[in-house]
């Protein structure tokens, strides 16, 4: 805290430059809010996911500079892999065969120069299906986690702000949700409502809202009476302004760390639901469903049917966990 930069005296040139950076910061916030809005609209409205693709592209462009760690002059591997996965989901499907086309080759042929990941029992191209599956798994994972953040984070902060009965009721409800195993809860709801992609996203989001609610609540509680919040009150700011300008930005990092873990969870839940047959309808390519279709073949030595989608799930989840770690430690 006692460090003073050596060019403390007099130079007025950097002022304008820094002001630019300041405005860049607020424009990033605008992008984030706009993204959230488009995301919600896309979920409710757009069955073909076109808007979602636009959003994901924007996000990818925003994240891209983070691949290079300029301080240590190295590539951040987790960010690079994540970006590759996102790009794969976005433009990969343009370069593959039709994942639904039956009998591209013989059924259950092993990996070869022509069919890199081999074919499944219906002769479909597994490589094409893994690539297309990325679109669905990442799409569902990200949007479910985003929806959970959008609902859970303000609710958690509000719980601290309002306190009292509001806080208690909210906590009891979230405890009720959390007392069920996540998968079982999702299973029950899907069994009752029937599987479709928007419903899956919605359900995965719902079971994750309590996570963000509690996380935000515990992160906000120690700073809700911090001096800088009192100062903002002295400045005559309204409570909501204080919440969004001073409190939520200060818990952003904690929540962001949880977000990437949460995307991984969402993909796991989706894969698990698909594995037991309650996820996406056949024949849509989805990693979890593909693992299930392939596991009977394992005993006959036809490993490629479920191993390749399995590796895709593994890579994605490991990458997201690694990302979350990086965010938490601020590197």
């Amino acid at each position: 805290m006692s460090v003073v930069s050596p060019r403390a005296s007099g130079s007025s040139a950097p002022v304008g430059r820094r002001r630019l950076i300041d405005s860049a910061r607020s424009s990033r916030l605008v992008v984030a809010v706009a993204t959230a809005v488009i995301l919600v609209v896309a979920l409710v409205w757009d069955p073909d996911w076109r808007a979602l693709r636009v959003v994901v592209s924007v996000l990818a462009i925003l994240v891209a500079p983070a691949v290079w760690d300029s301080q240590r002059r190295v590539i951040r591997p987790a960010v690079a892999v994540m970006l590759a996965l996102i790009l794969m989901a976005l433009i990969g499907p343009l370069f593959t065969r039709d994942p639904l086309m039956l009998s591209v080759g013989e059924s259950l042929t092993g990996p070869s120069g022509d069919l890199w990941f081999g074919t499944d029992q219906f002769g479909r191209d597994i490589f094409a299906r893994v690539i297309h599956g990325a679109r669905l798994d990442l799409g569902v994972g990200f949007s479910a986690a985003a929806l959970a953040v959008i609902v859970g984070m303000p609710l958690g902060a509000l719980a601290v702000f309002r306190g009292g009965l509001f806080d208690s009721v909210l906590l009891r409800i979230s405890e009720a949700f959390q007392s069920f195993p996540t998968l079982l809860l999702a299973l029950g709801i899907v069994a009752a409502v029937g599987p479709s992609i928007p419903i899956l996203i919605f359900i995965i989001a719902i079971v994750n809202v309590p996570v963000y609610l509690r996380l935000t609540r515990s992160a906000v509680a120690p700073i809700v009476n911090a001096d800088f919040v009192l100062a903002a009150r002295c400045a005559g700011q309204r409570e909501l302004t204080i919440l969004f300008r001073h409190i939520l930005p200060n818990v952003r990092q904690v929540v962001l760390a949880q977000f990437s873990v949460n995307v991984a969870w969402a993909i796991q839940i989706l894969a698990a639901l698909s594995f037991v047959g309650l996820g996406v309808p056949v024949p849509t390519p989805e990693w979890g469903a593909m693992v299930r279709e392939g596991y009977e073949q394992l005993v006959y030595g036809r490993w490629w049917v479920s191993v390749f989608p399995g590796v895709a799930i593994l890579t994605t989840i490991l990458t997201l966990n690694q990302l979350s770690d990086r965010v938490r430690h601020g590197t």
Binding site: M1, S2, V3, V4, S5, A8, S9, G10, S11, S12, P14, V15, R18, R19, D22, A226, D227, F228, L230, A231, A232, R233, C234, A235, G236, Q237, R238, H246, P249, N250, R252
Partner: protein, 338 residues
């Protein structure tokens, strides 16, 4: 020194019988009431510094926070610029906040860590109705110069600035809305001893040039001596001695005040009366007693001290909450006259 008055006649702020209870509930939902402030009255005039001294836990910071309506009061009245403010709803009070500002103990905690100092300062320009960015930046630059810093420092983040500089910026920020009353909550205690003097001098200069009323809360008796016109000594929610600075410092009547001064080992002013050594520590259980709350720590405590003790005047403007100091000064080691 008697109370000075603001241009419209009365004091800037007038506090009467202020009470603040903190209600907590334990695991069995039983209520526990802790009375942090118990019937405090004072007033501050323009250009005057009123200081409250006392140990941690005496409730002195709470007084200031209630005064600025950052915490609700349980009872009592606060009249600011002629208007009773405790009953005003926050919504209507917000524009009035420009007239009363606060300087915090720890400047690093008083600034939003993820915002630039400029944006923290900018918030405070809105209160005085400055709308355009250009004018806001000019106001910020003026305020930062007035506390002796270069304006381009505001483009850093709080963690990139030294503690002393940050406290100057905190003072600059509190002056941006051009307040009449400044609540100084231990403004020097988190700073290095070497820069305390600078901050004290800065505050004195600013008071003189802006005719500011200061409510100073501190436990550093040297800082209080340098800044205050009048001093109140607070113990467990009550004022035990109130008076002009020299009355309290040179002629302390209450055993608690004498104990504090003794412990501080001040070189000046010379004190009259025997030195008092306080024993034990401040304990909140004593805060519920009807009588004197110091009896367990006071070398002069007798049976009558357990009766309720009003603040009594020993000489003009000098109030003491100790019957022995008024009626039996010689027995408790004081010179007979005030």
């Amino acid at each position: 020194m008697s109370t000075q008055t603001s241009p419209n006649g009365g004091p800037v702020v007038e506090v009467r019988e202020l009470v603040k209870d903190y209600v907590t509930r334990d695991a069995r939902l039983r209520q526990h009431i802790a009375r942090a402030v118990d019937g405090v009255s004072f007033e501050i005039g323009a250009g005057e510094t009123f200081a409250i001294v006392g140990e941690s836990g005496s409730g002195k910071t709470t007084v200031g926070r209630v005064l600025l309506k950052l915490t609700s009061a349980t009872d009592g009245t606060v009249t600011f610029r002629g208007d009773e403010i405790l009953d005003i709803k926050e919504r209507h009070f917000r524009p009035e906040r420009r007239h009363m500002q606060m300087v915090f103990q720890d400047p690093l905690a008083a600034f939003d860590p993820q915002a630039t100092i400029r944006s923290s300062l900018r918030e405070f320009t809105r209160l005085s109705g400055i709308e355009t960015r250009l004018e806001q930046n000019e106001a910020i630059a003026r305020a930062v110069r007035s506390v002796g810093l270069e304006p381009d420092i505001v483009d850093r983040r709080p963690s990139q600035v030294s503690g002393g500089q940050l406290q100057r910026l905190s003072i600059a920020r509190s002056l941006l809305p051009e307040p009449e009353l400044l609540f100084l909550d231990e403004p020097t205690s988190s700073l290095d001893v070497s820069i305390r003097g600078q901050i004290v001098n800065l505050l004195l200069d600013l008071q003189e040039s802006n005719d500011l009323a200061y409510l100073l809360v501190a436990h550093d008796l040297r800082v209080v001596y340098a800044m205050a016109h009048r001093v109140a000594v607070m113990y467990l929610g009550q004022f035990v001695e109130v008076g002009a600075r020299d009355q309290v410092y040179a002629n302390a009547r209450h055993p608690y005040t004498r104990g504090l001064l003794e412990a501080a080992e001040l070189d000046e002013p010379p004190r009259r009366g025997d030195p008092v050594r306080l024993v034990g520590e401040i304990s909140e259980e004593a805060a519920t007693k009807p009588g004197c709350r110091l009896t367990l720590r006071c070398p002069y405590a007798v049976e009558r001290c357990e009766e309720p003790q009003p603040l009594r005047e020993t000489s003009a403007g000098h109030l003491v909450r100790c019957w022995r100091a008024v009626e039996q000064p010689v027995e408790i080691g004081l010179p007979p006259d005030d």
